[in-house]
Amino acid sequence: METLSERNYLNEPRGWKSWIFTLDHKRIGVMYLIAIMASFLLGGVFAMLIRMELLHFGGKHLMGAQTYNQVFTLHGAIMIFLFIIPSIPAALGNFVLPQMLGAKDVAFPRLNLASFYIYVFGALFAVYSMSTGAVDTGWTFYTPYSTTTNTSVISMTLGVLILGFSSIFTGINFIVTVHKLRLPGMTWYKMPLFVWSLYATAIIQVLATPILGITLILLMLERTFGIGIFDPAMGGDPVLYQHFFWFYSHPAVYIMILPAMGIISELIPVFSRRKIFGYKAIAFSSLAIAFVSFLVWGHHMFVSGQSQYAAMIFSFLTFLVAIPSGIKIFNWLATLYKGSISLAVPMLYSLSFLFLFTIGGLTGMFLGALATDVHLHDTYFVVAHFHYVMMGGTVMAFLGGLHYWWPKIWGRMYSEFWARISAVLVFLGFNITFFTQFILGAKGMPRRYYNYLDQYQPLHAYSTYGSWILALGFIIMAVYLIHSLVKGRRAPDNPWQSLGLEWTNSSPPPPENFTVTPKLTHGPYDYDKIVSGDSTG
């Protein structure tokens, strides 16, 4: 086994204290990575329990109705608040953003460390609520159910409130870092597209997250003191909560997907050795999506009793989001044209993303159109749709990015063979699990059901079998990634021959990122300007 002898951020400084008090964005990124992977594992275990229960094989139940309601609530809350929202920005973004800008660190290293500990603190509150009777409201905490159920809603929402601060701090840090710490000569149009997307994301994080905080505080006050803002018996409006909640949570969907789009915009040029097609269109479509994301929340409420006029406006604005998203997909596709395409594992995940996110986006049309949404709302069609967007989109991009930057983070290579097997299993398992749910939903199967009519059993069974394939893919991934840390081949500094600035230093990078100040000789995707002689993939 080769050892990493030269000095790098992993081995210098030494000692556990140097890690927990570190101000190095790379170490904070790594700690975030470990924390969110643990959250993903926990959320994944709950997902498997849900699917096992819904198998209903021979009419058998795995758990009672109350437990089931708690399990799907925890699955949703953990995956959204503890995993997907922080996954790309806080873990991968933290690690690479300053390096992509040629900077030594983020603008506020102490704030960065604080945001990590706030995340851990919030996560502990959320996990604590499980041990005190869990929560059975669904991850959206809709009133008046959430103000009347006797489960531990307060500690869960308090956890989410705290997590919100972590998200805001990361956002502020990234905005200032992008404005202030770019390498001299790196104009806005020379920034990597991942940076653009993290920037657009950070704007949403800073502007939208406080609304969630306020909403959750109102919910806690309502529950504790009965202030009557949502309680109809006291003149409150139970639907008002939904407006507040989605005013944050719809933009939050873009907090989840924009960074994913950024990663895809990095990976496709590298593994096609092609300059990205339509750089400015991609950059501006990120900002356009961030802007429009604030104006579409009402599309979650087409059947809530809101006025038809409001429904019309929200439906129209929702369709506007389709356009920049479509533009991005065509741009990525066009980047493949006349490329030199390597099917290395990050590229497999990028192509998975293209396919799954396209389905996720297109099925959004069924839900954005008012008349069809009436039939599909709150059914498994919606469940399938957002899993295609969030898991097929964000998680695939996260995995692509994780495999792409893995050698940069650890200085080691994983097994390409097992990684490909795992990627194929994840892709197949995902589609079997969730495509089935489009059919289930269109046929009328409502979501959040512990029991269901027999006519839906076969499709539920297919979905559960798919989840086993998916889980197998993830287990293999965990094994080869952990194996690579111990016995992995020593990674070259730039295994993918990428032009990204983060690959100009050593892998793993030195503590100060760059031993000599990097010079900007070309744009991030100028593969046409350099002579290549590689044979990767």
């Binding site: 139970p238 019309m312 389709a322 533009i327 099917l343 069809t372 269109a442 409502p446 290549s532």
Partner: protein, 315 residues
Amino acid sequence: MILDTTGSLFLPPGHSTFSGEVDSLFNFILYASAVFLAIVVFGIIFFVLRYRRRPKEGVVTGPTHSTALEIIWSVIPTILVIIVFFWGFRLYLKMSIPPKDALEIKVTGQKWFWTFDYPNGANTLNELVVPVGKPVKLLMSSRDVIHGFYIPDFRIKMDVVPNRYTITWFEAVQTGVFNIFCTQYCGKGHSEMIAKVKVLGEREYNDWLISGTKAGEGMSLEDFGAKLYVSRACVTCHSVDGTANVGPSLKMIFGHQVKLADGSSVSADENYIRESILNPQARIVAGYQSVMPTFQGILNDRELDALIAYIKSLK
């Protein structure tokens, strides 16, 4: 079976006046999506095969920008989504505004059953009875949390909210029995909140309306009670086979001592059962939450007698 023999791959058969129109829009989006997805999939496969990386490859150049192309792929989707938007909106308006002459039925949702009140004073639980070929307007409200009223076969859905009325309507095009689901998560019994809509011919409907208030005639009390146990939604929370559900099972409780939440116990006689139906919070059985709604004003004396007779029979 993935392929249902009665419907399309995706949708169940439709049985209301606008289900066909909703399905047309659904299918239009489906076909448009299929074309779009095919372009992406074909593009990926073709490019990956055609431009696979070969060893010792030189500089790769290709177009990095094409105004014409970018306009085309912005404008075509824009036109498409505008068509879908207007189509969806027009149909939604039609689905939202009931005709003036519609038959009005009051729907009440509560944990975890539906009550339907008809213009002549009749009421049913978990079974909505409507005439075929006549528009039916549903005026809906909830007694506790938000519920969702959904009839997949009619393609209608509307949330049912406490302290306000929401409206939906439909016109069934054929007789039959169809499912009603609750689609807004409402707690432990959410998935048990399944009701039926029974579409009758106009004559049968009128006959039913007249006899509806005199249900149970010519049946023994015990049989009538068994029927009420299902139709009045007791079945949602109380099993008759001994399994504990949201509420205690009714099997073999009559005449036995029941342990109460306050530590005392009571003999489950006629008076206790009657009290538990009319004033459920009075004496809660140990180990259960106090969530049962009152049936005061919903069940008449004969119905209460019948239910007690039925519970007595559960040995």
